[in-house]
């Protein structure tokens, strides 16, 4: 009989510990970071694709650009609106989004992803060092 009580108590403690992070953090989700645009990005109004597309798919887009530039040597991206862009992370994307710390890092930190783009690509081509 006493063993049964012990087991149940143990189970309760186990469930409580396992679910601790869930109920402890309930309702306190960190707010999504705000997107900060440089003046240049604001002036451009649209990115190479729609904002929603870029938010969700920029990694796939960059992957496509990378393979296309490195492997096929085709470097011009014609967006659905007919505008042409040089497919280059450093020279195109980061030309407008020259505020890596505020634009890229904030969201990546929030989502806890650590892309290693900047191990090689220079984060702000226009900055004078």
């Amino acid at each position: 009989m006493s063993e049964k009580k012990l087991i149940i108590l143990g189970l309760i403690i186990f469930v409580v510990i396992v679910t601790f992070p869930l109920w402890y953090n309930r309702g306190k989700a960190a707010p999504a970071p705000e997107r900060i645009l440089t003046d240049k990005a604001k002036a451009a109004k649209v990115c190479v694709r729609s904002t929603d597309y870029m938010k969700a798919e920029h990694m796939q887009l960059l992957d496509l650009w990378r393979d296309s530039v490195v492997r096929q040597g085709t470097r011009i991206y014609v967006s659905p609106s007919g505008k042409e862009y040089n497919m280059s992370l450093s020279n195109r994307c980061l030309d407008c989004h020259s505020n890596k710390a505020e634009f890229c890092d904030r969201c990546h930190n929030y989502a806890s992803v650590r892309p290693y783009c900047w191990d090689c690509h220079i984060d702000n081509p226009k900055e004078t060092s």
Binding site: G73, R75, S90, C120
Partner: protein, 261 residues
């Protein structure tokens, strides 16, 4: 009575299924639409060839000083670091003695002039490149469109099989993070990271915008660049009218860099 209740339930189930499928289908449709709209194409000024090749007129160079501007031009635009330690050295284009550059071609006694003169060496962008065969990740590949032996630095795992396979020592390995050793960074071009191999890329990024390789542009005509398979090209004209040699030709890698001696 019973059967009609079952019928109602079936209908309800089916419509629930239909509702849950709709957004998925919509998403697919949107995706397809977006992809179909964007296009990728070559730059208008991009230079093209079947196989890019270089002819080096070695008679135009006498001392290291003559090569310095070429090497400088290349290493500067490509963010090649300067590491004093010879074992960590990174080089895309450099000089070597005749004996080392052309082993097997040096007679026992050589003309004093050839013996003393340095020779310019770089990746040969071989037509039959052993480095490509050795690379387990396809990080090194021969570009179908123009024969350049290129590297996808993103993919390189640093195994260095390619370095063992290249008979020309054209490849360097980043034993250290190169960034602190780059004197003046060209921000238009990426650097590399520790643990990655690198080498000359025949200036693929310049050809894409209609410019000749940096070393060729800096050579005052001593280096010529063009299509090996275009009989009317400048390189073919030079090869036709001069006696040229290639490095370690007997190995069968078919180098695309020709030397007028």
């Amino acid at each position: 009575m019973d059967s009609s209740r079952r019928r109602v339930l079936q209908l309800l189930g089916l419509s629930a299924l239909g509702l849950s499928v709709k957004p998925v289908l919509n998403a697919f449709a949107e995706e397809a639409e977006q992809q179909a709209q964007a296009q990728i194409k070559r730059g208008e000024n991009a230079l093209s060839a079947q196989q890019w090749a270089m002819v080096v007129d070695t008679r135009a160079f006498e001392s290291e000083d003559d090569f310095a501007p070429l090497i400088e031009a290349c290493h500067k635009i490509h963010n090649v670091p300067v590491l004093e330690n010879k074992r960590h050295e990174i080089k895309w284009i450099w000089t070597d003695h005749f004996h080392n550059a052309f082993p097997g071609k040096a007679a026992r006694f050589l003309s004093e002039e050839v013996e003393k003169r340095p020779f310019l060496v770089l990746c040969n962008h071989c037509e039959n490149p052993p480095c490509v065969r050795a690379c387990p990740t396809k990080a090194t590949f021969k570009r179908e469109s123009d024969g350049i032996v290129l590297m996808d630095f993103h993919r390189c795992i640093g195994c260095r099989f390619c370095m063992a396979a290249c008979p020309f020592g054209a490849r360097s390995f980043n034993f250290r993070d190169p960034r602190p050793f780059i004197k003046e960074t060209n921000k238009q071009f990426p650097t590399r990271m520790k643990g990655v191999v690198e080498k000359c890329n025949f200036c693929a990024e310049r050809l894409a915008v209609g410019q000749l390789p940096a070393c060729v542009a800096a050579s005052d005509g001593a280096l010529t660049f063009g299509d090996l398979y275009d009989p009317a090209s400048e390189v073919r004209e030079l090869i036709r009218t001069n006696f040229t040699i290639r490095r370690k030709q007997t190995l069968g890698t078919e180098p695309s860099v020709y030397y007028i001696v």
